[in-house]
């Protein structure tokens, strides 16, 4: 099989798709804006539900793309693209022009900037961190407060920047609940003495083995789950964090002092993706992610023939789903090359 494909974005979806496309005999150009491949996967210490190290998956993906058919352009952004006849012409930020028969966008997601929820005090109070900051701590092995002490009481807030009309994100980011459970367990493992409290609106444990992890968190690790969204974070005289929530099941307001507060930041359409959507007149949904041409059998297809999507640029997804989505994109691209394009 012959033909050329440009894959924009070298995260999980981009790497998996590039590897599979190359195997099918297509020549692939993989463009990644960062110096290194891997995208958000590089930030993850352990993955849920089995707490496999993120590096393991990353190295599998890296092995995928060591292939003669793949040309790598890292540290290179995409400025825009045009479709001339059946050909795509992609302009890179450094001025290169790449021609291709098909394009696959795997531009991924951006983490919700938690400063936007000012009442949670991220960027204002020292000991308010995000889930991503915590993964970094797990990486370094040093879980501590700003003053170097080990936290003893830790709160986790679900749904920060997801399911929130106030920040314009009405959708559920899907991963935060299970991430919270995973991180709570890991915190408990790392700091034996600490107490962990999860503040949730709904526990959405729909994925394979998620519910089991939730149960484990309760039974084995004694994590407390409180149904109520945190509405305000402040500090007391001794600079300890104080959160306000309603314990909706008890029906009473709840105040709690905490050493560390972890915000489960949601996923948002990436800024790069939005730029490309604007430049290429690609349709986006109400949630600002790329809109697939069909929800059931066209989840990889766009409104432009020959341009495909894979991964979290279309909706929040976990690693498993992202890899599957990348593979289904590859099969769509191969079909396109074989029949539709001619």
């Amino acid at each position: 099989m012959t033909g050329s494909v440009v894959v924009v974005g070298g995260g999980t979806a981009g790497m998996e798709a590039a590897g599979q496309l190359a195997k099918a005999g297509l020549s692939v150009t993989l463009i990644e804006k960062e110096k290194y491949l891997g995208g958000h996967l590089r930030e993850w210490h352990h993955l849920f539900p089995d707490r496999r190290p993120g590096d393991e998956v990353l190295s599998y993906l890296k092995n995928q793309i060591i292939h003669n058919n793949i040309r790598l352009l890292t540290g290179e952004g995409v400025e825009g693209f045009q479709k001339r006849g059946n050909d795509f012409i992609i302009n890179t930020r450094s001025g290169d022009v790449v021609k291709a028969d098909a394009v696959l966008l795997t531009t991924g997601f951006d983490l919700f900037r938690s400063e936007r929820k000012e009442e949670y005090g991220y960027g204002i109070y020292d000991n308010v961190i995000t889930s991503s900051d915590l993964e970094e701590m797990f990486h370094s092995g040093e879980i501590m407060m700003k003053n170097g002490e080990k936290p003893e009481k830790i709160g986790i807030v679900h749904c920060v920047g997801s399911r929130d009309e106030k920040v314009g994100n009405l959708y559920c980011s899907k991963l935060c609940c299970v991430t919270a459970v995973k991180q709570a367990i890991e915190l408990k493992e790392a700091l034996n003495k600490c107490k962990v409290f999860c503040f949730y609106m709904d526990m959405r444990m729909g994925g394979a083995l998620y519910e089991e992890l939730y149960r484990e968190a309760q039974e084995k690790y004694g994590i407390t789950f409180i149904r109520g969204k945190v509405s305000e974070v402040g500090v007391n005289f001794s600079k300890r964090l104080v959160i306000k929530a309603e314990d909706t099941l008890a029906g009473r307001p709840l105040k709690m002092e905490l050493d560390l507060l972890v915000l489960m930041a949601g996923m948002e359409m990436s800024a790069e993706g939005l730029k490309l959507a604007e430049a290429g007149k690609l349709e986006i949904g109400e949630n600002r992610f790329f809109a697939a041409s069909d929800n059931h059998f066209g989840s990889n297809k766009s409104n432009l023939k020959g341009l495909f999507y894979a991964g979290t640029c279309t909706a929040p997804m976990n690693i498993t789903e992202t890899i599957s989505h990348a593979r289904s994109a590859v099969s769509d691209i191969i079909n396109y090359m074989n029949s539709d394009r001619k």
Partner: protein, 636 residues
């Protein structure tokens, strides 16, 4: 010729309207409160009289304010009002000079041409005819604009114009017919007698060339008289009542009468003075940002006049005060809206009687409300003694950066201060007031007042303009109430703190409750000039926009709030500033999610640029004096 039956409709209409005007003025005067009666009497025979005459000339005739904000619309109003006035004035003089005798009945002046058809033969007469034609042409040009406006409001530079009721339509038609019928009647008479100037003369001779002019003229004189008569009789039932009422309003206002918080003569006069010009609709953000155009001030006054349902109209408003600012008649629209919000709570209301020719004041029995002690759960609070109290306000608790910034500024000032609602306090009462629930609000006011009294403080600083307004206006406190922008300005001025200049470009959003509502425009800007490069925007000071998050509107959906906020943020960040600065936690919360620019409070940028915290050695008494002097109040 001395009399002709066709003048009867005009005469009847004229005497009807004159008697009506006198009666209604007497009713309005009688219903004024005693102090207001005295004010009006003093104003009528005092210095205010001259001022009123001047204002009547400038506003009721020339329409200066409309001209300023919209030239074409202003011209339309001016040509009709001023033109008609000139026509009557010079018509009377004409009848006086050229008529058979002096001091004629009014109809002689109005239908002068009919009774003196051959007037205009001598050069002097011809010159006068030219003047009269010129005035008529002036009016007709305005009338053409008015007709175009009715069918396409954009033609006069208006985006929206008011909708009409049936009686308004009849009155409008008769008004529109007055001048064309006069033109044709005069022209035909002139044509028959070979008189008339450039307009009536030319048109007349042309018409006479193929029509029996002398026979045709008579029906048009009838039409002219009938349209005048109809217009006068319908006038009290329509918005055209504003023409005579506005004169009354100007006298009342210049005598120092204000709307207050209850319906009364003055608010009635104001409501009837609204000409439905529609400027308030164009300036309203609910209209141009959210596309809601059924609740603007012009519709409110109309609903009150027509005695129709006002609840939704009164409630669905941001209370930003932009319409107060632009109203060419100077009606206090926001206070009138507040009166409507309080109905049900207040005992006075007006209903139409006599088929709408009169309105009757009604004393409604106030519904017994079981609202006593609704806030008796509030705990006793003792803030401790301090010179300065800081009241963050409910909203500020959702913007911790402002709380932190204010804490560091207050510490840096070296003054003894206490944070009264650090752990959350009672609401200031303003939100309840804005919803028209004054009695409940009073309960909270009493509660907060006690806390402030106990502390023995001399200054109260607040971060929230909503709180600032109510503390300043509705609390009876012996403390200086300062918004934090004023407080910061004071401590910069008296040297308590020194500032670094941050090389940042900023624009400033004036919060409605601080700006138009409380008149604090300069202090925040002066503070900002100390710390950053303050850029101007198209919407500064009195013309500032509302962020959309206003507590004034209970009904507005989040979606529409967001639309308004987006427009406002876009306008204020046209110059790509580093920061969009505001001085209200609610504005900050509303604007921050809808713009990519960083929105911060004034106190945050100040806290960032303070050089060294002053040592605790300040003479607080000196400060107290400075504060009082700078506000221009000496403690009695």
């Amino acid at each position: 010729m001395q009399f002709d039956p066709f003048v009867i409709p005009f005469d009847l209409g004229l005497y009807f309207i004159l008697i009506y005007a006198v009666t209604r003025s007497i009713i309005w005067f009688r219903e004024l409160s005693r102090p207001d009666k005295l004010r009006l009497q003093r104003g009528f025979f005092g210095k205010a009289f001259g001022q009123s005459l001047k204002e009547i000339f400038l506003e009721s005739l020339i329409h200066r304010k409309i001209l300023k904000s919209n030239l074409r619309l202003g011209y339309m109003h001016m040509s009709l009002a001023f033109g008609w006035f000139l026509l009557i004035l010079f018509g009377t003089i004409e009848a006086d000079i050229f008529g058979e005798k002096h001091l004629n009945a009014p109809y002689k002046a109005i239908f002068f041409k009919f009774f003196n058809p051959d007037h205009g033969k001598t050069p002097f007469e011809a010159g006068y005819s030219f003047l009269m034609d010129l005035i008529l042409a002036f009016i007709l040009s305005g009338l053409v604009l008015a007709i175009i406006k009715r069918f396409s409001s954009k033609a006069v530079g208006m985006k929206k114009t008011t909708k009409l009721k049936t009686l308004d339509k009849i009155a409008l038609t008769s008004l529109w017919l007055i001048f064309p019928s006069r033109l044709i009647a005069e022209s035909l008479t002139s044509g028959a007698y070979g008189t008339g100037s450039f307009l009536t003369g030319t048109l007349g001779s042309w018409l006479a060339s193929f029509l029996p002019a002398s026979q045709m003229a008579y029906p048009f004189w009838w039409l002219y008289s009938l349209s005048l008569g109809t217009f006068f009789v319908l006038l009290p039932l329509t918005r055209y009542l504003h023409i005579p009422t506005e004169l009354f309003l100007i006298f009342m206002r210049n005598s120092g009468i204000r709307t207050g918080d209850k319906a009364g003569s003055f608010s009635e006069v104001e409501v009837h003075s609204c000409s439905s010009c529609g400027l308030c609709i164009d300036t309203c953000q609910m209209n141009f940002s959210a596309g809601i155009n059924n609740m603007q001030a012009a519709y409110l006054t109309k609903a009150i006049r027509n005695n129709t349902e006002t609840f939704d109209i009164a409630q669905n408003c941001l209370m930003c005060g932009r319409c107060d600012q632009i109203c060419p008649v100077g009606i206090e629209l926001s206070p009138i809206r507040m009166i409507q919000r309080r109905t049900g709570d207040s005992e006075i209301s007006y209903t139409n009687t006599w088929k709408g020719y009169f309105r009757e004041k009604q004393h409604l029995p106030v519904k017994k409300q079981n609202i006593r002690n609704s806030f008796d759960f509030l705990p006793e609070s003792n803030p401790g003694k301090a010179d300065i109290l800081y009241f963050a306000g409910c909203m500020t608790h959702l913007t911790p950066s402002i709380k932190i910034a204010m804490t560091s500024i207050l510490n840096a000032s070296g003054l003894s201060w206490s944070f009264i609602d650090e752990k959350g306090g009672a609401c200031c009462g303003r939100p309840l007031m804005l919803a028209g629930q004054d009695k409940e609000a009073r309960e909270l006011i009493n509660y907060n007042s006690q806390i402030i009294w106990k502390s023995g403080a001399h200054t109260l600083v607040t971060s929230c303009p909503i709180c600032y307004k109510v503390f300043k206006e509705s609390y009876y406190l012996d403390v200086e109430v300062l918004h934090h922008s004023q407080f910061i300005k004071n401590i910069i001025d008296d040297g308590s703190v020194k500032m670094n200049f941050l090389h940042k470009r900023v624009t400033y959003h004036t919060p409605c409750e601080l700006g138009r509502s409380s008149g604090v425009y300069d202090e925040p800007r002066e503070v900002l000039r100390h710390v950053a490069n303050l850029e101007t925007t198209d919407f500064d000071n009195e013309n500032s926009l509302c962020c959309g998050g206003s507590l004034g509107n209970l009904m507005l959906s989040q979606e529409n709030k967001r639309k308004i906020a987006s427009c406002t943020a876009a306008e204020l960040t046209r110059k790509n500033p580093d920061f969009l600065i505001t001085a209200c936690p609610l504005c900050k919360k509303t604007l921050a999610p809808v713009t990519k620019y960083k929105v911060i409070d004034l106190s945050e940028i100040v806290a960032e640029s303070i050089v060294t915290p002053a040592v605790l050695k300040k003479n607080t008494y000196r400060f107290k004096k400075t504060v009082r002097e700078s506000v221009g109040v000496e403690k009695s």
